[in-house]
């Protein structure tokens, strides 16, 4: 499917009031347990933020940021963090068993039955998203699945449905990019002129716009502007042929040497019998 037709989110931080309806709706839809939290556990300035990080029990959350300039408070800004559903996801490319995969219409989901819990995807993700069920005996990777089951039935993802202000828009990636561009050009004073997810990691299905650079809101600022799997793919793709190739060479060498040893032994035996 064309990248523009993939299902995507546009999260506009300027329309987000940090109400966290999305965070709770996600928990409710996925029947995820509440975590035991403590206020301020995230340290100074984390404010209302809870839980402090995404986890196997928390697929999306709002982070709180007091934006300060010259010692003065400029804004209280919020960012919704969750899986970015990359167009070319690194997590899917490193998955040894093909559990993690990109669906045709956008969501990056995983097949629980196939997941072996190796956690390569956790290492590969530039946004540090997939989380692991550490406490379970048979454990699985967990992350936002874009409510793939709801989308398949023509419903909105739980977070988008709950959002009162339309800070979370759900639709086709191409259309949402146009909306984002229009907002940025109509209000250049208000918006920081960058659409996160347009090119980061080769483009993601979660687009973010805000009034301050998103790195001030916790978005990692070292994400390359090209698909990560482009590099890993080459290496990963080389592993099988390399292993098979090396195996073949070693196998043939072993066969040849063993054969020679065998032949040498047979020659000795034969001489003794004359």
């Amino acid at each position: 499917m064309n990248n523009n037709d993939q299902m995507a989110f546009l999260y506009d931080s300027t329309k987000c009031m940090g109400c966290r309806g999305c965070q709770v709706a996600c928990k409710q839809w996925h029947e995820l347990p509440a975590e035991k939290t403590r206020f301020f556990a995230g340290g100074a300035d984390s404010g209302y933020q809870n839980p402090i990080h995404l986890s196997e029990h928390t697929y999306t959350m709002i982070t709180f940021h007091e934006v300060v300039e010259d010692g003065k408070l400029m804004d209280w800004a919020f960012w919704k963090t969750q899986c970015q559903h990359c167009l070319e996801p690194a997590c899917a490319s490193v998955c040894l068993v093909g559990a993690m995969h990109k669906t045709e219409n956008g969501p990056v989901v995983w097949d629980s039955h196939k997941c072996i819990g190796c956690r390569y995807c956790m290492l590969a993700c530039p946004f540090n998203i997939p989380k692991f069920e550490w406490k379970k005996v048979i454990s699985d990777i967990r992350k936002c699945d874009f409510c793939a089951d709801r989308i398949a039935e023509g419903l909105l993802p739980a977070c988008a449905k709950t959002c009162a202000t339309g800070a979370i828009l759900f639709g086709k990636r191409g259309e949402l990019i146009e909306i984002a561009k229009e907002r940025l050009s109509k209000d250049p004073e208000k918006y920081y002129q960058h659409i996160y997810g347009l090119e980061e990691a080769g483009g993601t299905c979660v687009l973010n716009i805000s009034n301050v650079p998103l790195k001030h809101l916790g978005y990692p600022d070292n994400v390359p502007m090209e698909p990560l799997e482009k590099n890993t793919q080459i290496d990963m793709a080389a592993i099988s042929p390399a292993v098979i190739g090396l195996g073949a060479i070693l196998g043939v060498t072993a066969f040849v040497i063993n054969r020679r040893i065998e032949l040498a032994k047979t020659k000795e035996k034969g001489g003794q019998n004359e």
Binding site: R20, Q23, A34, R38, A164
Partner: protein
């Protein structure tokens, strides 16, 4: 609300003051952002920078309790620059009325006070020989309301106001310039407010200041305008409509007092009069509503000869507001309490007083979804249950999704709801519980007792089922014809047993019954109007009134005072967003249900239309009140300091509201011991006294602890780090709570000195999944001069660091 939720989307300037709508009414932001998309400006006025402020174009900090000077500065700006909607003032307000020339404000007092109340002897208007109020249409006469208003607010210049509120003068100017832009006829501004405005000893006057500003701007009755009270509980609007409060009967009729010895005496007090035939004087219809109510209560027992059983109504001899009840309970006067969905142990002011008062009860019936701090007051930390003799009955209640009935929202929409799931276990709807109590009382009184008739003769026709039929209740609220009635002038006839189609058909002769005249037309021969869910076509309904979605009081009028949205000819001030307009050819109003069917005052040729009536039909004169003589504490709002304040009143020698009742004079903290201004508020994640949210794991996950927000400045001064436990004390008590250090609170320069403010969330208590100390242990037992709503929002405290971690 005078307007509607959706209507906020039509505003050009939205001021959110005494409210944190983003956190406590988040859905409203859908409409606010709609307005912003069309270029509207949002102003957030708050002691602290909230999630609402994060969406605002202008944030104005202010010292808690200084809303009147803040609004006063905007009024001052408008009046001194003549940026008012003059035509509107002349056509729709009492700006031109001449006031008694002896009326004056002296050192913060509006005249003589006797026995704790103003005599109000100078608060009247000058009248001519035929009793009609004299007016000066040039608005120049020094006795006219407009000139008195100018004189009053001349004292609220920006520099003086800045010294009182702590708001920088350039911010005050920016707010004033932005909001006053809505004085233009084609522009409208709205004010959204909630408890931050009302929960003060002068809360009513806070709202009055909004009314004055909005009338000067011509913003009442228009799309995108109005004074929009954001109601809290989902059905608090319905509750107040049906007389939850002690001083009213259903439909905002007055509750009788001991001096109302009979119906006629009572009516003389309640019926308003006007000599001006152009005034509709709608409360002149009062007898029809009280008579119909009494017929609904007492059926055939209520006849003309016995004053329709008026003497069965309890006559109050005092103020029975929340604070007064708990003061009486403290003295052992009140022996029994039914706490219906109420948790005063957390939600009531002066927690020590109120929790201890509960121990004086012989019995308590708590009706609730959870066991709350109130129903479990006898086993709270620090008390020995053996010392408490109160017998507590806990009735499990059904939640709002577990029963059928209507819920009335802030926009006065009564929306019918169905039972989504059955209540768990023994939990029952309130209707079932009250019905059982009533039946038991009727039985007990049937066997004897003092003055049993008010109970035994109560009409109670709600079916014979296990539970009263909510439809039967709704129909009785709407009202019935009790015999065949003809209306020859309307060419209509009704049979006995027909539902009354609207309150214009209620009568004072005992032929109609209606449980609440305001809700008459909600359930008619056409069906349950509250159950309708038809969205309108934008072509037919450009401003989104949605007249066929549910039902709105009164008579489905969506924006009240809407004839003020037009000039004297019936042409809308803002033709691009009309609420109503008058079609002179068809002789009727088009658009929303007009606020009174009468034509406008003038014909298209400028001649007077003799059938025209003034637009504010609920006031006796027919005009909106810039000068309002009916309130207890003054016809104009005047700044007084909160009961506990760090500074002297800069406006006058009168420190506090002169007519508030001071229940506990020894419980007023001074700023030497308690130098920090404190306020209390709510967060999105928790609900009121906390039973419904501190028992939900997903919400406890978000806000697991009670906390207090404190500025970086003050935290540094007191050596408090983020997350530290602090002790907050007032003269009434102290609590330990965790501190959240933030730049969203800043110290303010007030009267030349630095004043610190802290804010506490009040949702916590000792019951539930998440527990913590209750901020209301700190708040004062004192209330507003008119409504007695407690002053939760501004008091004095001290803050100290405590060793140890939050548990």
């Amino acid at each position: 609300m005078t307007n509607q939720w959706i209507d906020i989307g039509h505003s050009d300037c939205i001021m959110i003051i005494g409210s944190n709508a983003a956190e406590n009414h988040p859905i409203s932001f859908k409409h606010i952002l709609n307005a912003k998309e069309k270029g509207a400006k949002l102003i957030s006025v708050d002691p602290r920078y909230t999630r609402t402020s994060s969406e605002s174009d202008i944030y104005a900090p202010l010292r808690a309790g200084t809303d009147i000077p803040f609004i006063g500065a905007i009024i001052h700006y408008a009046l001194s620059n003549d940026l008012v909607q003059r035509d509107y003032l002349l056509t729709h307000t009492n700006a031109s009325f001449l006031v008694n020339p002896d009326f004056r404000l002296t050192e913060g007092l509006f005249g003589e006070i006797k026995g704790g109340a103003y005599t109000k002897n100078t608060w009247g208007f000058q009248k001519d020989a035929s009793g009609i109020i004299k007016k000066d249409l040039s608005l120049e006469n020094p006795d006219c309301v407009y000139q008195l208003l100018k004189k009053h607010f001349s004292r609220y210049d920006l520099d003086t106001v800045s010294k009182i509120t702590g708001t920088p003068t350039d911010t005050l100017l920016k707010v004033a310039e932005t909001f006053v832009g809505t004085h233009r006829p084609d522009k409208s501004g709205t004010i959204m407010y909630a408890m931050g405005a009302t929960q003060h000893t002068y809360g009513t006057q806070n709202i009055r200041s909004y009314a004055i500003l909005q009338l000067l701007m011509g913003n009442i009755g228009v799309a995108g305008g109005g004074i929009n009270a954001l109601r809290g509980e989902s059905n608090v609007q319905g509750s107040t409509d049906h007389a939850l409060l002690f001083h009213i009967l259903p439909g905002y009729l007055k509750s009788p007092e001991v001096t109302d010895v009979d119906l006629d005496t009572y009516l003389k007090k309640c019926i308003t009069k006007s000599e001006d035939p152009r005034s509709a004087n709608w409360w002149g219809n009062y007898p029809k509503y009280i008579t119909s109510l009494l017929k609904a209560f007492y059926g055939d027992h209520a006849v003309k000869e016995n004053g329709y059983c008026f003497n069965y109504l309890p006559k109050r001899s005092a103020n029975y507001s929340h604070i007064a009840l708990f003061e009486a309970m403290s003295k052992g006067v009140i022996k029994g309490l039914i706490a219906l969905g109420q948790n005063p142990a957390v939600g009531g002011p002066d927690g020590n007083i109120e929790r201890n008062a509960l121990a004086n009860l012989d019995w308590m019936v708590a009706v609730d979804l959870f066991e709350t701090e109130t129903s479990a007051f006898w086993e709270r930390p620090g008390v020995n249950p053996a010392d408490i003799q109160t017998e507590v009955f806990l009735f499990p209640a059904a939640s709002s999704v577990e029963k059928e009935g209507s819920i009335s929202n802030s926009g006065r929409w009564a929306q019918w709801r169905y039972t989504a799931v059955d209540p768990p276990g023994d939990a029952k709807p309130d209707l079932w519980i009250l019905d059982r109590i009533h039946k038991q009382l009727k039985k007990a009184y049937g066997e004897g007792g003092v003055f049993p008739e008010p109970i035994t003769q109560l009409q109670w026709n709600y079916g014979d089922g296990e539970e009263p039929d909510p439809h039967a209740v709704a129909k009785e609220i709407n009202g019935y014809f009790l015999k065949d009635v003809d209306f020859p002038d309307k060419k209509l006839s009704f049979k006995k047993g027909d539902l009354v189609p609207g309150f214009a058909f209620l009568k004072d002769d005992g032929s109609t019954a209606s449980g609440n005249w305001l809700y008459c037309a909600s359930y008619t021969g056409k069906g349950n109007m509250m159950a309708r869910r038809t969205r309108s076509n934008p072509q037919d309904d450009p401003i989104g009134l949605n007249p066929e979605w549910a039902w709105c009081w009164p008579v489905n009028r969506r924006i009240i005072y809407n004839r003020a949205s037009c000039d004297a000819y019936g042409n809308p001030w803002a033709p691009q967003k009309p609420v109503v307009r008058y079609d002179h050819a068809a002789k009727k109003w088009i658009g929303d249900v007009p606020d009174g069917p009468w034509p406008p005052l003038k014909n298209p040729d400028g001649s007077k239309n003799p059938d025209g009536k003034y637009s504010f039909i609920m006031t006796p004169e027919g005009f909106a009140c810039l000068f309002a003589p009916t309130l207890t504490d003054g016809p104009f709002p005047e700044h007084y300091e909160p009961l506990e304040s760090p500074v002297a009143n800069l406006m006058s020698m009168q420190q506090n509201n002169p007519v508030i009742k001071i229940w506990r004079p020894d419980e007023i903290g001074d700023s030497d011991k308690y130098p920090i201004v404190a306020t209390t508020y709510r967060v999105t994640e928790h609900w009121q006294a906390g039973a419904m949210t501190r028992n939900v794991p997903w919400l406890v996950e978000l806000v697991p602890n009670a906390f207090m927000e404190i500025s970086n400045d003050l935290a540094t001064e007191l050596d408090i780090a983020d997350g530290d436990k602090v002790k907050v004390s007032t003269i009434r008590g102290s609590i330990e709570i965790c501190a959240l250090v933030t730049r969203r609170l800043q110290p303010l320069m007030v009267s030349g000195k630095k004043v610190h403010q802290v804010g506490l969330i009040w949702h916590f208590g000792y019951k539930g999944l998440a527990t913590g100390e209750s901020a209301n242990m700190l708040t004062p037992h004192v209330g507003d001069a008119n409504t007695m709503i407690p002053e939760f929002k501004a008091f004095l405290c001290n803050v100290e660091k405590v060793k140890g971690d939050i548990s």
